[in-house]
């Protein structure tokens, strides 16, 4: 289960009345600013360039570090290379001792945060001052940065005023320009008195020995100019091969980080420039490995070295937007933080943080280097499960899912057991320890008769041109059989006969996303056997998560388990797997389906994009086309593709996170004035219908399959 201190941090963050509000508003403003900054730029082409140049660098870190050392040394710098974080600290300590350094100023550097360098220098009796405003605030408050770009984003101006008031011994008002002026005054003294300046680097160029520093405040210019000694601590993932590689990174970094075209200051230093007033100047560059080389050799995780630390992934993360960076507990926050912590710290260090990922994939859409953060989080889960074993409760649950007959027997038993609590297809209150599950969200009652039992009685009238297999998935099979029946009606109208292979079982997504790859592989094999025998043109599912599982994940899981033969069989099936909306859209385009003539206006609906449909299947246009074509007036909601907070079992594991994410979604639904909210995923239906049911207000939640089925009629080519 989840560690108690993570629960505590969560409770603390969620109890902070202001945090979610300010992070939420930031998230919205950020998206708009980012979109403006990227206007006129081909983001995909830029990503291609960045991925290529960062991958090339990651493939030869050692050679690039050697070349950098050679060139920077030639330019007059002293370069120290080490794989050991402690050696970095000792190098800086020794330098301070040898040069009689007493006061140090620092510009923002995640690498030194990673090392906890400040604590080591302070233990040596040195006065160390962070000079980035956010870092200074966090340092004075005795905290850690909660965001890679905006370290103090979790603090209000009132809290900053309190922190500064203590520092300067006068009562300061929470007036932001005045507070910034205090920082300017106080830190100016520190800059002028410092004997040594420490910076990081945003890019390090091997072919020229150049360091690139990007800031808005101008502190890196002062830190690198005023003190006679400049030490740059650089993680080797910042290395690029060529000077021409710098520009694409600078094209993406400010745009993705803050929505700026360029930061106020960009400095490129090659060796030590002359010192102030004719004084000598020293430049030391510490190239730090700290397991980055090992990461580069890992086929799954090498891609994480592409990270340019823009933090756009956390800016769009629905969980981060709710709880902020401190809940994540590490130096680097968010999903990418979990991944980096697993390497730079220890695999176990990521155990809690990675569990916070809801797998919505919002980060994958904005990452300028296309890092598959949710995919790597799943990989972490798999490795954690391998190293430390699965949590007991989870293991018991998956043991059940592992055997279809047992699993389905349990569901049928549950259908009987729920009877006292179910009303109108919904369960509004559960007693005792289950009560949390129905707080702010009703649960769907398990269907009295699952789809698999009803299916043989469904009337299907030919003639048919094609056959398709319906892959129901657990939710449609056992909670929402009507969605499955609607799919059958639409396909029948297009001249497609639908069969229901009775041996189909869980798609394996719950197990896979929890890292239980052995269970997911067993599910995949069972489904391969069940579906291969169906002899159909298409395999259709009205659940995007199941569709992704059959189309992408099954083969990948089997491959990861070393089952190449099975993986090939899964590949062959995958080619025929379709999500419901895309298949129906395709049939409409082929004139096999048409819309009932003269159908009255169907009313105003708003559409919620399910995470897997939009980001894994890129099928967000088809359902919109279908809704419009069937006479619906589509009112787009704000953040239509933001996660609803369901995330499979996530809503059960972290109900305290799931609830407010759902609340935000419902607010956006209500704001459209639509009386119906449509979507393509039974999981989202469960979450959103449950939330709307508890909240009241009469907004209907419908799967697109249900909304359109009644309005579809055979097209001219339905029968061939």
């Amino acid at each position: 289960m989840t560690a108690p201190d993570l629960r505590q941090r969560l409770a603390h963050a969620l109890a902070d009345g202001k945090l979610a509000g300010s992070l939420g508003r930031f998230g919205e403003a950020y998206l708009a600013a980012r979109a403006r900054a990227y206007e006129g730029i081909d983001f995909e082409a830029l990503r291609d360039r960045l991925v290529a140049l960062k991958d090339r660098a990651a493939g030869r870190l050692d050679a690039l570090a050697a070349r950098f050392q050679e060139e920077a040394t030639r330019a007059g710098a002293t370069v120290f290379r080490t794989s050991d974080p402690d050696a970095v600290k000792e190098y800086v300590v020794r330098l301070c001792r040898e040069r009689g350094v007493r006061r140090v100023v620092k510009s923002k550097s995640m690498a030194t945060e990673e090392l906890h360098l400040n604590a080591r220098l302070e233990a040596e009796g040195l006065r160390v001052k962070e000079t980035d405003l956010g870092e200074w605030i966090v340092q004075l408050a005795g905290q850690r940065p909660s965001h890679m770009v905006m370290p103090a984003i979790h603090l209000s101006k009132e809290q900053v005023a309190d922190v500064f008031s203590r520092e300067v011994n006068e009562r300061l008002a929470p007036d932001i320009p005045a507070l910034v002026a205090v920082a300017r005054r106080e830190l100016r003294e520190e800059f002028l008195a410092a004997d040594l300046g420490i910076t990081g680097a945003n890019v390090a160029v091997a072919e020229t020995g150049t360091l690139v520093l990007v800031t808005n405040e101008g502190n890196a210019r002062l830190v690198s100019t005023l003190p006679p000694i400049h030490v740059a601590v650089v993680g080797i993932e910042k290395l690029v091969e060529r000077f021409s590689d710098v520009e694409p990174i600078l094209r993406a970094l400010p745009r993705s980080a803050t929505g700026q075209l360029l930061t106020s200051y960009v400095s490129m230093l090659t060796g030590p420039a002359p010192g102030v007033d004719g004084a000598p100047k020293e430049l030391h560059v510490v190239l730090m490995d700290n397991r980055r080389s090992a990461m580069a050799k890992d086929p799954a995780f090498a891609q994480a070295l592409r990270c340019i630390r823009c933090a756009s992934c956390v800016n769009v993360c629905p969980v981060y937007r709710l709880v902020g960076g401190h809940v994540f507990g590490g130096v680097y926050t968010g999903g990418i933080g979990a991944i980096l912590a697993a390497w730079f710290d220890a695999l176990g260090a990521s155990r809690d943080i990675q569990s916070l990922c809801i797998q919505c994939g919002a980060c994958t859409q904005v990452c300028p280097t296309r890092i598959d953060i949710p995919g790597l989080v799943v990989e972490l889960r798999a490795r954690l499960a391998k190293e430390q074993g699965q949590p007991l409760l989870q293991k018991a649950a998956f043991a059940m899912v592992n055997d279809r007959r047992v699993f389905h027997r349990v569901l049928r038993a549950a259908a009987r057991a729920q009877k006292p609590f179910a009303k109108g297809g919904m369960i509004r209150h559960l007693p005792l320890f289950l009560a949390g599950l129905t707080k702010d969200r009703s649960l769907p009652a398990i269907a009295e008769e699952p789809l698999r039992d009803r299916f043989p009685r469904l009337p299907q009238r030919g003639p048919f041109r094609d056959r398709a297999a319906l892959y129901a998935g657990c939710l449609i099979d056992f909670a929402y059989p009507a969605i499955g029946e609607a799919v059958v009606r639409a396909l029948n109208a297009a001249g497609v006969e639908v069969v229901f292979p009775q041996d189909q079982t869980c798609c394996g997504a719950p197990a896979r996303y929890s890292g239980a790859l052995d269970v997911a592989a067993r599910n995949a094999k069972d489904n391969v056997v069940a579906l291969e025998g169906a002899n159909v043109r298409w395999i259709v599912s009205a659940c995007p998560t199941c569709t992704v599982a059959l189309r992408h994940d099954a083969a990948a899981t089997l491959r990861a388990q070393g089952e190449e033969d099975w993986a090939r069989r899964a590949d062959a099936l995958a080619a025929n797997v379709r999500d419901h909306a895309s298949l129906v859209d395709e049939l409409v385009a082929d004139e096999r389906l048409a819309f009932a003539p003269g159908a009255a206006a169907a009313g105003r609906v708003t559409y919620h994009d399910s995470c897997h449909l939009k980001r894994k299947l890129a099928a967000h246009l088809a359902p919109r086309r279908l809704l419009r074509a069937t006479g619906h007036e589509l009112a787009e909601m704000k953040e239509s593709d933001a996660c609803c907070g369901m995330g499979g079992s996530y809503s059960l594991k972290f109900p305290e996170i799931s609830r407010p994410i759902l609340a935000r979604k419902l607010e956006n639904v209500r704001a459209t004035g639509a009386r119906t909210v449509a979507m393509d995923c039974p999981g989202c239906v469960m979450q959103i219908a449950g939330g709307l049911d508890q909240a009241g207000g009469g907004i209907a939640t419908r799967h697109v399959a249900e909304l359109i089925a009644e309005r579809l009629v055979p097209g001219p080519r339905a029968r061939g």
Binding site: G134, M150, L192, E217, L222, T225, V266, P272, A273, P274
Partner: protein, 185 residues
């Protein structure tokens, strides 16, 4: 391209002034010094780092008499006591409203980091489309400290409220010297 540069520089809170020639630019700078109430008092002085644009146009002695508190002797001590710093930039980038220089000479950084107002002279003929063009023509082994400046110093670290002038200048005044017109004349 000049209009784009000006629009982009102003969008990031820089002020752009025009001068038809280098001699006129000197007068524009002097007007800014007057506007900023430069005087011979600690914290109210000005430092001017001479460069090729104004080469031969500046007579430090007579200018210092005209503007008490103005010094051409750029030292750390003078920069600390100055309200205004003046320097020349070699390049301007249209799409981002950026000015850029080889700042290997630390005096160039003193006048543009420690002062409240930084006045930057740049030739209109030095305008390039973007950073990519600039980096393509630079060898960092020769340009040891390339400084790109886009607007004044800024932060959004407290509640994401944009605030101008944290550690560097609160004002950036760009004086565009229209040397193309100068050449035509």
């Amino acid at each position: 391209m000049l209009e784009l540069f000006e629009a982009r520089a102003e969008a990031v809170s820089a002020e752009v002034l025009h001068a038809p020639c280098a001699a006129a630019a000197v007068e524009v700078v002097l007007a800014v010094l007057e506007r900023e109430r430069v005087e011979d008092a600690p914290g109210a002085r000005a430092v001017w780092c001479e460069g090729p644009i104004c080469l031969g146009l500046l007579d430090p002695g007579s200018l210092a008499r005209r503007v008490p508190g103005l010094s051409f002797d750029v030292t750390r001590a003078h920069a600390v006591e100055s309200r205004v710093g003046v320097s020349e930039f070699e390049w301007a980038l249209a799409t981002t409203g950026t000015i850029a220089q080889d700042a290997s000479d630390p005096r160039l950084r003193l006048v543009s980091t420690l002062t409240e107002t930084h006045v930057a002279l740049v030739r209109a003929s030095a305008l390039l489309p973007d950073l990519e063009c600039l980096l393509a023509r630079i060898d960092p082994r020769r340009v040891r400290y390339l400084a790109c400046v886009t607007g004044p110093s800024r932060t959004a670290d407290i509640e994401r409220v944009l605030t101008i002038g944290v550690h560097g200048p609160r004002k950036l005044v760009i004086v565009l010297v229209d040397d193309a017109a100068e050449a035509r004349a």
